[in-house]
């Protein structure tokens, strides 16, 4: 509804004369909340711009003064002082990439999240189609099983999963990061509910044309499900890009397989007091891609993340 329409309904009601004050109070409360919510984001961005001494003394405002400062590590390497003067923001962000193989971590994050999503679709879509549109013996039992499995959070059974993966020697591999998430019962449930709304005529027509069940799934059902898949994809990618618990358990020490959250955690582990700037720069680099995507496509993101609320 447009603002004008809303306003007119308000004018009609009895609240008309105290409308401005109550609106102002609401804004005051919401702005206060917004300040608390934004505080860590402000700290993160601001520290990623500032020089170490500005961080320690809380000076320099949001961007810092951006005066050149001496990089002690560079001097330790035997360079002349003049060559070791650096601008804080550039120093922070270059150090973030140099001190740890951050690009590698980001790449790992991308590989893992994309593989998880693709495998989830390949497994869930045909199953959802069979549950929604095919009649076969045991269908109700399978659907019942799906409903039961919805009760199980994968994080909760991380320990036995870890033992199983360790037994077959798969810890410290990409497979370990991906395998537990290959089955998304939630995805099956969601797609099944969606396919229930697709008219049978569409499928019958495809069968008349001589399409196999296999090509019906991928050439008829998949295109109709694109909006639902987008929402599910956002849900899946956000969850696994940000996931820290599972990678923490199965990746022990092999830095080549670190996902971004693990990389950041390690950075924190060996931060030596004055490396706040580069660490905050790393945090920014990890957090900002999703935030930027969210700001660009808010409606879709909110739809996707709250998907689980629509059962």
């Amino acid at each position: 509804m447009s603002d004008a329409a809303l306003q007119s309904t308000d004018t009609n009601s009895a609240t008309v004369f105290r409308f401005p004050t109550s609106e102002a109070i609401k804004h005051a409360v919401l702005i206060l909340g917004a300040i608390v919510v934004l505080l860590p984001f402000y700290v993160m961005l601001s520290y990623s711009f500032k020089a170490p001494h500005e961080i320690m003394q809380n000076t320099g405002g949001f961007f810092g003064t951006q005066e050149l400062f001496r990089d002690d590590f560079c001097i330790k390497l035997g360079n002349a002082v003049e060559d070791c003067m650096v601008r804080p923001v550039i120093y922070n962000y270059t150090t973030a990439f140099e001190k740890a193989p951050l690009l590698r971590y980001l790449m790992n994050g991308l590989i893992v999240t994309v593989s998880i999503f693709l495998i989830q679709i390949i497994v869930a879509l045909p199953c959802a189609y069979a549950l929604a549109k095919l009649r076969f013996w045991g269908r109700e039992a399978v659907f019942g099983l799906v409903l039961f499995c919805l009760l199980i959070p994968v994080h909760a059974i991380a320990l036995p999963l870890y033992i199983m993966l360790a037994k077959v020697g798969l810890t410290n591999t990409y497979a370990a990061l991906i395998i537990p998430w290959t089955i998304s019962v939630f995805g099956i449930f969601l797609m099944r509910q969606f396919f229930m709304t697709v008219p049978d005529d569409l499928i019958d027509a495809a069968r008349m044309d001589g399409m196999s069940e296999y090509s019906i799934v991928w050439n008829v059902m998949l295109p109709t499900a694109i909006p639902a898949l987008m929402a599910f994809g956002i849900f899946s990618v956000v969850a696994h890009w940000n996931d820290y618990f599972w990678p923490r358990i199965v990746i022990t020490g092999n830095r080549d397989l670190f996902t971004p959250p693990l990389g950041l955690r390690e950075f924190k582990g060996d931060a030596d007091g004055d490396n706040f700037g580069p660490m905050m720069a790393t945090a920014c680099i990890i957090v900002i891609p999703l935030i930027a995507a969210f700001l660009l496509a808010q409606r879709r993101f909110i739809e996707g993340i709250t998907l689980s609320g629509m059962k």
């Binding site: 809303l6 917004a34 700290v43 961080i55 069979a130 919805l150 036995p160 959250p261 950041l264 969210f294």
Partner: protein
Amino acid sequence: MPRSYAHLWFIAPALFLMFVILLLPIILAGTLSFTNYSLGNTGADWVGFDNYERIFTRSTYEKMFGATFRYVFVVVPMTVALGLGAALLIHSLTRFGDLYKTIYFLPVMAALIAMAIVWEFALHPTVGIVNATLERGCGTFLERWHWYAQGCDRTFPLWLTDRDYAIWTVAFIGVWQGFGFNMVLYLAGLTSIPRELYHAAEMDGAKSGWDRFRLVTWPMLGPTTVFVVTISFIRSFQVFDTVEAFYPQGGGPSKSVYVMMFAIYEKAIQQNLMGIGAAITIVFLGFVMFLTIIQRWLVERRTHYV
């Protein structure tokens, strides 16, 4: 309809993975919880209910339940109340509502481990922005508040390393991170309430805003609330990232933040005590499944009152 076996190919992979990835681990955890298994050992001894007995008698695990329930019973009511409050305020605004919605949703999107590290800086006793801001309030009317005056006299709390504050500070971060999610669910619930209901209620004499909320909004949000409460419980039971980031060893000052997921991680992964870890896993699963079953039961009764 022609007989075809396509469905077998369609459901077989999913069925197989459900068994191997979701059901088998539960059976495995159930079995191991009665043993003293360690990874690397060839066998394990059957120890009966020893692991469970330990969980329900030893003081370490008493602290574990204490920390978990303190966290959960702060975070769930707070995220639900703030989520509902924010949704009601935003829904009643004529403008800028979307802006607040975007801001409040940001923490849901951000990697919690990164934000935990930022919070640790913000709450740092000497260089942190929180205590620096509080100190600026010294000497003003705020000092009339006993707690504040004490903070000015000595120092403001060490938030994360003080035994009395640690779990509440971690819970605060949980609330900070989670209420935007509930807000969005409530906003969806609010937009689906038909306007006619409010007009009808007004005609029946519901004059004040509180009456309208009590008679229309709250009952109509019943199903949303059931869902929001359940998902908040499940999410907050699984808290791990913040605890591990702040206290990589030992679960905080005097184990006051020793939550269940961290206990599983510490006992099983760090100390290789698989039996006890498996037993905690089973207890944990029990909680989560119990909650979800209650939710389904409430939804199936189609109740509007919680």
